[in-house]
C-alpha cells in the first residue's frame, strides 16, 4: 500500500501542471482506493483470487525514461490492420497511420471532453486506475463511418529492469451506423514482474456494428487486472472475442449493459493457463431494455497447477420484454492438479425471457482419445487434436481472417509448448 501511495505522489509531482479537474478526480480516486484497499478473500466476488503479491510488490510507474529502443519488429503485429502502438505505456504516434473516419486522442483530451466518464464507482482497481491513469488512447469512430481494416492497438510491456506498472485507460466510441473492428492487444515480454491495470470503456451507438478482439499474451511474470465496460445503444451489435494466454494472475471484470432496445451482443472467451497461472473472469450482462440478445461462451483450458474462476451473471430487469440470453462456460482440465471454479448465475425479474445457462468442467474425453488412437494417431497428437477442437468454437467466432489465423496460431503454439513441457 505504501508503495502505491509513494507512486501516486510521484505522479502528482511529475505532472505538476495538470488541470485541477483531473487532479481532483485523481485525488478522489486514490482516496477511494485507500478506503477500499485491495480485495481480500473475504470479499464475495473476489474470494478465489489472491492479490497479496500486489501488496508486497514495489512496482513503479513507467516514466518517459523507461521508454526502451523501439523493437525492430513489433511483436504481435497482425497483417492488414491499422496500428496504434504503445510501448511501456508510451504512445508512438509516429507509427500510427490511421484512416479517415476515426479520431485518436490521448487521455487528457478525452478527460477534458468527457469528465463524467471518470467517476470512480466500482471496484478498487477502477479507483486505482483512475488515480494513476498514465497511458492508453481513445478511439472514436465517426457516425456512418465504415472502417474496413481492423485497428490493432498494441500495448507492449518489454525491456525494463525494475518492476513496472501502468494504468492504461481506453475509450472506444463507435458512432451511429458506424462499423469497426478494434483489437485491444496486451503483450508482456519481460522476465521482470509487471502490473498492468487497465480500464476500457466501449460504447456502440445506435445501429453501430463493432467487433472487439481482446488479446492478452504473456508468460508467468505479469499481473494483469482489467475492467471492460460495454454500453450498447439501440440496435447496436457487438461481437467480442477474447483470448487470454498466460499471466501470473489475470483478473478481468466485464460489464455489459443494454441501454437501448433491439441490441445484440456475443461474448466469446478463451483462457489458456499453465504452470501456476491464475485467471479469474467476472461477467455481468445487464438486460435493461426490450428485445435485446446476449450470447456468452467462455472456455478455459487449464494445465499443470493452473487455476481458473468464471463467474457470470445475466440480469434481466423488471418490465423488460423479449429478452434472449444465454451463457455457457466450458472448461478442460489437462492435469489432475488444475482447478476450476465456475459459477454461472441468472437473475431474472421479468417474464418474457428466453434464458439458458450452464457450465461443464471435464478432462480429455477418454472415448475420443481412444477413437483417435485406434486410427494410428499418437496419444500426444490425439490430445492436441482434441484440445484444438475444444478451442475451435471460440476461434471460429472471429470473422476477420487475418485476426482469426493469428489467434489460431497462438492457440496452436501454446498447445504445442504446453504439451511438450508437461
Amino acid at each position: 500500500m505504501t508503495q502505491f501511495k509513494k507512486q501516486f505522489e510521484a505522479l502528482l509531482d511529475y505532472w505538476p501542471h495538470e488541470g485541477s479537474g483531473l487532479r481532483s478526480v485523481r485525488n478522489t480516486a486514490f482516496g477511494r482506493f485507500k478506503e477500499l484497499g485491495l480485495p481480500t478473500k473475504k470479499w464475495e466476488e473476489w474470494q478465489f483470487t489472491d492479490f497479496s503479491d500486489l501488496k508486497k510488490s514495489d512496482f513503479q510507474l513507467s516514466w518517459v525514461d523507461d521508454l526502451p529502443n523501439l523493437p525492430k519488429e513489433i511483436p504481435g503485429r497482425i497483417p492488414n490492420t491499422h496500428l496504434i502502438f504503445m510501448i511501456n505505456g508510451h504512445y508512438q504516434s509516429q507509427l500510427s497511420g490511421l484512416p479517415e473516419g476515426l479520431t485518436v486522442s490521448t487521455g487528457l483530451d478525452h478527460f477534458n471532453a468527457n469528465p463524467d466518464e471518470y467517476n470512480v464507482n466500482g471496484n478498487p482497481f477502477i479507483a486505482l486506475n483512475t488515480s494513476m491513469m498514465n497511458s492508453g488512447v481513445s478511439v472514436a469512430i465517426e457516425n456512418n463511418a465504415v472502417i474496413e481494416k481492423p485497428i490493432q492497438v498494441i500495448y507492449l510491456m518489454t525491456d525494463f529492469s525494475a518492476p513496472l506498472m501502468n494504468h492504461p485507460r481506453f475509450n472506444f466510441d463507435i458512432g451511429t451506423n458506424a462499423e469497426a473492428t478494434i483489437i485491444e492487444h496486451y503483450i508482456g515480454k519481460s522476465p521482470t514482474p509487471h502490473f498492468v491495470n487497465s480500464v476500457s470503456k466501449i460504447r456502440v451507438r445506435e445501429n453501430g456494428i463493432f467487433s472487439h478482439i481482446r488479446l492478452l499474451e504473456t508468460d508467468g511474470h505479469g499481473t494483469y487486472t482489467a475492467t471492460t465496460k460495454y454500453q450498447l445503444n439501440r440496435d447496436a451489435q457487438l461481437n467480442v472475442t477474447a483470448l487470454a494466454s498466460g499471466g501470473k494472475l489475470f483478473r478481468h471484470d466485464i460489464e455489459l449493459s443494454f441501454e437501448g432496445a433491439g441490441a445484440e451482443a456475443r461474448l466469446d472467451g478463451l483462457s489458456l493457463t499453465e504452470k501456476a497461472q491464475h485467471h479469474d473472469q467476472h461477467v455481468v450482462v445487464d438486460h435493461g431494455n426490450d428485445a435485446c440478445e446476449s450470447h456468452q461462451l467462455f472456455k478455459y483450458i487449464l494445465s499443470d497447477k493452473a487455476s481458473g474462476v468464471f463467474n457470470g451473471k445475466v440480469v434481466v430487469r423488471e418490465h423488460t420484454k423479449q429478452t434472449n440470453a444465454d451463457q455457457s462456460n466450458k472448461n478442460l482440465l489437462l492435469s489432475p492438479k488444475a482447478l476450476m471454479n465456475a459459477n454461472p448465475q441468472l437473475e431474472i425479474y421479468a417474464e418474457d425471457v428466453k434464458c439458458a445457462h450452464g457450465s461443464t468442467t471435464g478432462q480429455i474425453d477418454s472415448e475420443a482419445l481412444f477413437y483417435l488412437r485406434s486410427r494410428g494417431i499418437s496419444k500426444q497428437k490425439a490430445i492436441e487434436l482434441i484440445i484444438g477442437g475444444f478451442a475451435k468454437e471460440i476461434i471460429d467466432s472471429v470473422q476477420n481472417s487475418d485476426v482469426k489465423s493469428y489467434i489460431d496460431d497462438k492457440v496452436t503454439t501454446w498447445l504445442e509448448s504446453t504439451m511438450h513441457h508437461g
Binding site: S366, L372, S374
Partner: protein, 246 residues
Amino acid sequence: MLEIKNLHAGVDGKEILKGISLTINPGELHAIMGRNGSGKSTLANVITGRDQYDVTSGSVTYNGVDLLDMPPEDRALAGIFMSFQYPVVIPGVNNTYFLRTSLNAKLKHQGLNEINAADFMRLIREKLKLVNMDEKYLSRAVNDGFSGGEKKRNEILQMLTLEPALSILDETDSGLDIDALKIVAEGVNNFRNSERSFLAITHYQRLLEYMKPDRIHVLIDGKIVKSGDMTLAHELEEKGYSWLES
C-alpha cells in the same frame, strides 16, 4: 493372423470375457453373434487396446506378436482396425483433417511419404463414392451431427482409406437402412482379398448373407459356446439363443 487363446478380461474386477479362444487366418471372415451384453464389444475393444479393460489371463497375438502390451495406436499401425459400434463425436476436429492425419501416421510408419492435402482429396473422393457418402460430411467435425447410419458409413470410409489387414466390424449393420446395408456390404466384399481378415459382430442374418463368413461363433456370457458355418446362423434365426445356454 490373429490368435486368441483362453482370454479372460473384465472391468473393475468384474469378469466379462471368460476364456475365449479364436484363430482367424489371412483372408478369412469370421462372424460373432450373441445376446446383448454377452461381451462382443468387449472382445473387440480388448483386441484394439482400449485400456479400461483388464486382461487377467490368456493371450492375443497378431502375426505372432503379442498385442496386449501395445498401445492402441501401435496396433492400428500394425494393421488392426475397428469400426466402432458407437462412433465417437469429436467436436471441433475436422473429419478430413482427422482422416488425413491417420493415413499419414500409417504412411510414416511404413516409411513412405506423407500425402498432401490435394492428393488426399482426390483419394477420399474415390472412397466416398464406394460408400455413397456426400462430400459435405468431410467438412464437418468427426461424426458431429451424423445420423446413426452416416456414422457407420464414415467408419467404413475410414477402413477403406486406411486399408487395414484385420478389420473388426462391431455392428456396422445396425442403424443402416436396407440400401445402405447393401452398399456397405458390397464395399466390404470388394475390399476383401486373400490377405485381409475380418471379424464381423452382428445381430442379423442379412449381413451374413451378403458377406458369407467362413466361420460363425456364438458368444454367450463371455464364452464361445458354438461355432459353425452359415447353417448356424439360420438355426439361430429360427430358435434364438436359449437352446445354447447350459
